[in-house]
């Protein structure tokens, strides 16, 4: 299979293969949409095309973007995760409260938060695999469990006065005149890491294979159960990182956080060209999808358009993205 995919070297053969590649790479459309949106807003707002503003947009999408990395993994296996925002909220409030009350040192609080989030992911994965239950139902249940635990544990109180390690990712460094948060950098590194893991490792190939056809994957010797649990656990761990990003961005532990982030992360994944039916899509597409949402929100705000129109446009784009996915699937078949 690898042999046929290797891009042809001779330049005369490159033309048709490029056209085909454009049609079949699900990330091209989203990237074009993102660039077009950027061009549009550059013409319509003096403040849009600045380094500071782009740094801001990345900050604003880093939490949902990071959640969407986990969501991408799960959707690639033809699953779905409705619980990620709630898991993140619980991880965030856990880290914040443990650290602020001095129950454990801040770094231990962070580690515990990451582990608990990974644990939620593992629980999702085990229920999906062992019982087995549909991911939609498992994660719908877990959404409520994590939401309730967040409110019970926090007693609905926002946690303030966090020790420095919890907000370190919200600190900035400079590229030229632009201040970029460490959290933004971490988010981009995570995307690159998962692009590598999904694209270059056997594990990544197994994830795609599982999403394409669990039966075929099993017949080729992939331990699909173990793989599924691994994917959900990894996703959970990534939600833990999102929790830390959230805490560092807002500077508080917020029990109300993340209530729409499950759907927002699915939106980012779908806008990025990943198929909801599994087995097709790129994690970099998800970054583009998250940026599309962030660019529209920021650009429309700079133009003075009320935020409800951002929701309207996001809705239209999602339907468009799924339509493109469906049509291109039909073409492949």
């Amino acid at each position: 299979m690898t042999a046929t995919i290797t891009p042809p070297k001779p330049p005369e053969a490159a033309e048709p293969s490029l056209a085909r590649r454009l049609l079949t790479t699900p990330t091209v459309g989203p990237l074009a949409a993102l660039l077009l949106a950027c061009v549009f807003f550059s013409f319509n707002s003096d403040q849009f095309l600045t380094g500071g503003n782009f740094s801001l947009i990345i900050q604003q999408v880093m939490v949902v973007g990071t959640l969407a990395i986990g969501q991408t993994l799960i959707i690639l296996t033809a699953g779905i995760d409705l619980s990620n925002g709630a898991i993140m909220a619980f991880g965030g409030i856990l880290m914040a409260k443990l650290a602020a009350e001095g129950t454990v040192p801040p770094l231990v609080a962070i580690a515990l938060g990451l582990l608990v989030c990974a644990g939620f992911g593992a629980a999702n994965g085990l229920l999906v695999t062992l019982v087995p239950l549909p991911p939609f139902i498992v994660t719908l249940g877990m959404l409520n469990v994590a939401f309730a635990l967040t409110h019970i544990y926090s007693q609905d109180q926002t946690v303030t006065n966090l020790p420095a390690p919890l907000t370190a990712l919200g600190e900035t460094f400079s590229i030229g005149d632009t201040r970029v948060t460490y959290g933004s950098l971490l988010t981009i590194l995570l995307f690159l890491l998962f692009a590598y893991l999904l694209g270059q490792t056997a594990w990544g190939k197994h994830v795609y294979a599982l999403g394409n056809s669990p039966e075929v994957a099993r017949l080729t010797g992939i331990r699909t159960g173990r793989l599924t649990v691994g994917v959900y656990t990894t996703a959970g761990f990534v939600y833990g990182i999102a929790a830390l990003l959230l805490v560092s961005r807002t500077g508080v532990g917020d029990p109300q956080a993340g209530q729409t982030d499950n759907l927002d992360s699915i939106t980012a994944v779908v806008l990025g060209g990943t198929s909801l039916f599994g087995g097709r899509g790129l994690v970099i597409g998800t970054l583009i999808g998250a940026l599309i949402v962030g660019v529209f929100r920021n650009g429309l705000q700079l133009m003075g358009v009320a935020s409800i129109y951002q929701t309207l446009i996001t809705g239209i784009l999602v339907i468009l993205a799924v339509t493109v996915d469906q049509l291109s699937r039909r073409r492949i078949r």
């Binding site: 600045t50 782009f54 740094s55 604003q60 590229i175 005149d177």
Partner: protein, 334 residues
């Protein structure tokens, strides 16, 4: 898969190059957007609640009159702190002179407010304070404690010594507005928290269907309830529906806070006995004016401005100062 990884690598490389390139040329553009009209930002808790819709209308009218440009944004749900932070950042990037905000989470919004203020933006809290209140330059709001106190006094006078069995349909834990109204009501009625006459307390989130469920449960617990305090009129109407189903709507006194048009009509028709009316339009108008003043003269408002509250009822009692529903309907919101 190697092909798609290569594409991914190329795309991400492009994205990073683009970001850095933009970062490099970023410095020059920062002051380019000082437009002639003063920009005012309004950030509400949600887009859909009539209270905030009215606030937006007031702000739009005031901005038009003062030749200012209004930008608006809102959270996706009540309590959506992240969207409010994002809106503050984007408005500061857009070069607003001042931001008017109804904070969804009084504590969690504070760091973002501080950042905006250190960028030279005047920040005024509307309707509900931040914690601490000094985190914003100023607060334009209803005195929610007084709003509660008024209906408490009214209820005391109307009950005229009859032993009270009270249900309180509250907002949600940890939200200042709800706590203040609740405490004000108790003070106005002349009782302490934990008084045995309060037989049932439930959170409703200010939602009609949750108000109904809460009242049904309260009636299950204590069928002889004869006074109901509600956080707002939707909760009050929910309670009315529950009471009506039990045939109790005539002999139970419902008092509320808000003064929305639907609520004021319910006072007129007698479903709600009295409500404390507040004035979101005024908050927004005064807020816009304060930002425009700051833009023109550089003077910042500070401290707390009470935007007023009026008891609305058609059955005044015991000398508690009140206006009738005709006045209420002329001044209602929503």
């Amino acid at each position: 898969m190697s092909r798609s990884t290569r594409a991914a690598g190329a795309l991400s490389a492009c994205a990073i190059v683009a970001t850095i390139a933009l970062a490099g040329c970023g410095g020059g553009g920062d002051n380019a957007g000082q437009a002639d009209a003063i920009k005012v930002g309004l950030i509400t808790k949600t887009e859909t609640n009539p209270f905030f819709v009215k606030m937006k209308i007031g702000a739009e009218a005031a901005a038009k009159a003062d030749g200012a440009e209004l930008m608006t944004a809102a959270g996706k749900f009540d309590g959506d702190n992240a969207s409010q932070i994002t809106a503050i950042e984007n408005m500061v990037a857009a070069g607003v002179k001042g931001i008017l905000i109804t904070p969804s989470d009084s504590k969690a919004i504070v760091p973002a407010v501080q950042k905006a203020r250190s960028a030279g933006v005047l920040v005024i809290a509307l309707d509900s304070p931040t914690e601490p209140q000094e985190a914003t330059d100023a607060l334009f709001a209803t005195d929610n404690f007084k709003a509660g106190e008024l209906i408490g006094q009214y209820a005391k006078a109307t009950m005229a010594g009859k032993p009270a069995k009270i249900a309180t349909l509250d907002l949600a834990p940890g939200i200042a507005v709800g706590q203040l109204r609740h405490d004000g009501f108790l003070k106005g009625f002349g009782i302490q928290e934990g008084d045995p006459s309060v037989v049932c307390s439930q959170d409703t989130g200010g939602d009609q269907s949750k108000g109904q469920t809460a009242m049904e449960n309260c009636l299950q617990k204590a069928p002889d309830i004869n006074l109901v305090y509600t956080i707002n009129e939707p909760a009050a109407l929910g309670a009315y529906t529950a009471l009506k189903a039990k045939g109790r709507e005539k002999d139970v006194l419902i008092v509320s806070v808000d003064g929305g048009c639907v609520g004021t009509k319910a006072v007129q028709s007698g479903q709600i006995a009295a409500t404390s009316q507040q004035y979101p339009l005024k908050m927004a108008e005064q807020g816009v004016k304060a930002v425009v003043d700051y833009g023109k003269s550089g003077t910042k408002v500070s401290g707390y401005t009470d935007t007023g509250v009026t008891l609305i009822t058609d059955k005044p009692a015991g000398g508690v100062e009140a206006e009738d529903t005709e006045f209420g309907l002329q001044n209602c919101w929503g």
